[in-house]
């Protein structure tokens, strides 16, 4: 079910979890929680399927997979892309479960040392990655990041409860729903772009060979999988970082480590292996603070936390000791779940690949319909559908004018944490910004951010100039 949810664009884990909440009354508590957990990490794999096959991220955590995964599919290498996503997810997921089992108490206590300045600096560091993630102009990438930050402030201010940028719309009271923005910017806009071109260049003449990764693919992917696993798990533990951010960071790191960074975005397998491993490991990481501290790290864990409370289980440091059968039952299920993901989904790669051969003139209609229904299903509101379509048109115009959507999405995700930690830090320090530099962990994050921000001036500028020159010569 998790994979199916992940494959269907427009229906994310949060929406699926919300829809399935009523079922937990009818099954034993441990079974219910295991089912909800399964949906979470199942969608991590399923989301990559649509990212690779049709360039529509099934989930926000699969946005980055679109960059290279879809390009690999267009080159007839959809099978290896899906395969490495599956194996990378399995390896990372297994490691994540081991990490959850062994390090939950220790890692959770370290995360407690993070205060608002550290979270703010971490957000700044993450946002500076937009300069690396954006394929095009750094200037335009930063503009999108600023716009994303503004959009993240929409809704009710958590400090004063004042409504901001709602324009009188009830739908915007809780801010811009990430699902609508992502579906619109990445899904609907892609449909509109393709509508403006001929359909015939796509899938019909694509011949897919070698459904599994070859030796060279494994050789290229080994280190990205390892890096993505470690990065995803340890970052996933940090409350507020979230799964999606780890994929962006993983992608940026792989690009930085690569001997051919200019090839990222053209269909390199490292661009799939790293982020896909990161997101599966991150899911396991997000469960650490939730199970050991009772602190949710994203929407999905928030819903699961709510489910625990509905079932009469008090999340927090005492949960593991008072309900060991729950904790170990979840751990055991995650082991089994990861195996099932590979066992069930690898044979189905051929099925997913066959989807590529379906006429795009039919496929796109299904995708649009799923997106519309998915948007509606979150709050049963047509305003949400309208908002998604507005973002679809905006995303289309963005592509026409060469603006990247990824920095906007990243800023939208990070915005609440960014703002809350900034305001809290200034309150704590009586308005002094020195607090971000006097705390060691915060200072390290800011230094790293500075390195990322300045390095394009010395290195990427040459690559960027080459790419821009090539574009203008077309």
């Amino acid at each position: 079910m998790g994979t199916l949810v992940g494959v269907l664009p427009g229906l994310g884990p949060a929406a699926a979890l919300s829809l399935l909440l009523p079922t937990i009354y009818h099954v034993p508590p441990i079974s219910a929680i295991i089912m909800l957990f399964g949906i979470c990490y199942g969608t991590a794999y399923g989301g990559s399927t649509t990212s690779i096959l049709v360039n529509i991220p099934g989930e926000v955590s699969s946005v980055v997979t679109c960059f290279d995964g879809y390009q690999m599919a267009r080159q007839g290498r959809a099978g290896p892309a899906l395969g490495i996503a599956a194996f990378g997810s399995f390896i990372a997921g297994t490691f994540g479960v081991v990490g959850l089992m062994l390090f939950a108490p220790t890692l959770a206590s370290f995360a407690l040392r993070f205060g608002p300045p550290e979270y703010f600096s971490l957000a700044v560091m993450s946002l500076t990655l937009v300069t690396y993630i954006g394929k095009g102009s750094i200037l335009q990438g930063l503009m999108m990041a600023c716009l994303g930050l503004v959009m993240s402030t929409a809704g009710r201010d958590s400090f004063t409860a004042q409504t901001r940028f709602t324009f009188g719309l009830t739908s915007l009271m809780s801010g811009f729903e990430l699902a609508f923005v992502a579906m619109g910017l990445f899904g609907m806009s892609e449909i509109l772009i393709n509508l403006g071109q001929s359909f015939k260049r796509e899938t019909l003449d694509t011949k897919v060979k070698n459904l599994l990764p070859n030796r060279q693919d494994w050789k290229d992917s080994a280190k990205p999988i390892a890096r993505g696993t470690l990065l995803g798990f340890f970052l996933g533990i940090l409350p507020g970082v979230g799964v999606a951010i780890t994929t962006f960071i993983s992608y940026a790191i792989e690009k930085k480590f690569s001997k051919h960074p200019e090839k990222f975005g053209t269909g390199v397998i490292e661009g799939v292996a790293g982020p896909e491993s990161a997101n599966n490991a991150a899911y396991a990481g997000t469960f650490v603070p939730m199970l050991s501290l009772g602190i949710p790290t994203n929407i999905s864990t928030s819903i699961i936390l709510g489910a625990l409370m509905i079932l009469g289980l008090q999340p927090g440091p005492l949960l593991i000791s008072s309900k060991p059968d729950l904790f170990w039952g979840v751990v055991a299920s995650m082991y089994a779940g990861n195996v099932m993901l590979v066992v069930l989904n690898l044979p189905l790669i051929g099925l997913w690949v066959q989807i590529l051969k379906a006429p795009y003139s039919i496929l796109y209609v299904l995708i649009v319909m799923f997106c519309q229904i998915g948007a509606y299903s979150v709050n049963n509101s047509v305003t949400d559908v309208l908002l998604m379509n507005i973002f679809g048109v905006f995303g289309y115009l963005m592509k026409r004018y060469e603006f990247e959507g990824a920095p906007l999405i990243l800023a939208l995700v990070l915005g609440p944490m960014f703002e809350n930690s900034l305001r809290r830090s200034l309150i704590i320090s009586d308005g002094s910004p020195a607090v971000f530099f006097t705390r060691p962990i915060s200072a390290v994050f800011l230094i790293v951010a500075l390195v990322f921000l300045l390095s394009p001036l010395f290195t990427r500028e040459r690559i960027g100039r080459k790419a821009i020159d090539m574009k203008e010569d077309d």
Binding site: L11, L19, L139, Q140, L142, M143, C146, L147, L149, V150, T153, D157, F159, T160, Q162, R164, F165, M188, I191, L192, L195, G196, Q197, F199, P359, Y360, S361, I362, Y364, V365, L366, V368, M369, F370, Q372, I373, Y376, S377, N380, V382, V385, L386, N389, G392, V393, Y396, R400, Y401, E402, F403, G415, F418, E419, L422, R423, L426, I427, D430, G431, E472
Partner: protein
């Protein structure tokens, strides 16, 4: 760097005299300038709203603080984009009629979904999309639209129990 795009539409525009007397067809002007001015205007709106919300103090930033900072940076970057894009001309593909019709369909669908209900509005909506994708015979169009609509209703409405609007006809 100033470049002129050699594009047949641009040549055609020149032949038609669209580019004359300093009044240029907007489509063939500098795209970065257009987008830069758009975002500059947007940033002014953001700044205005942020000031209305209140910036607070350095000790206690107000609800408009972050959006003001982000809006300010956006305005500066927009002007920088205008500056860097000035004089760089690029031809842009004209808006396809399929795209325009698809966008109109999307918005009309959003607006009539509650009134007509899911089944009727989706039936016509997917019918239009199928027709835009590839012209088909009317019976094929009707059949595919009905099939897709019912499939969507079955998966989401029945299996996943999504509540769909019923419209004034009751379904």
């Amino acid at each position: 760097m100033v470049r002129q795009a050699h594009h047949p539409e641009l040549v055609e525009g020149q032949q038609r005299g669209i580019i004359s007397n300093g009044v240029k067809s907007f489509q063939y002007l500098m795209p970065k300038v257009k987008s830069g001015f758009f975002f500059f205007g947007l940033s002014l709106v953001i700044l205005w709203e942020s000031l209305r919300l209140g910036l607070g103090t350095s000790v206690e930033p107000g609800p408009g603080f972050l959006s003001f900072c982000a809006g300010l940076i956006l305005s500066v970057l927009s002007l920088a984009l205008v500056y860097t894009g000035w004089g760089v001309r690029k031809s842009q593909q004209t808006l396809s009629h399929r795209v325009i019709l698809a966008v109109l369909s999307l918005f009309v669908y959003s607006l009539v979904l509650d009134t007509l209900g899911f089944i009727i509005s989706t039936f016509f909506f997917v019918g239009i999309l199928f027709h835009l994708g590839e012209p088909r015979r009317w019976w094929s169009l009707l059949g595919m639209s009905a099939l897709v609509t019912l499939l969507g209703y079955f998966i989401f409405g029945i299996l996943l129990k999504v509540y769909f609007p019923k419209g004034f006809l009751g379904f």
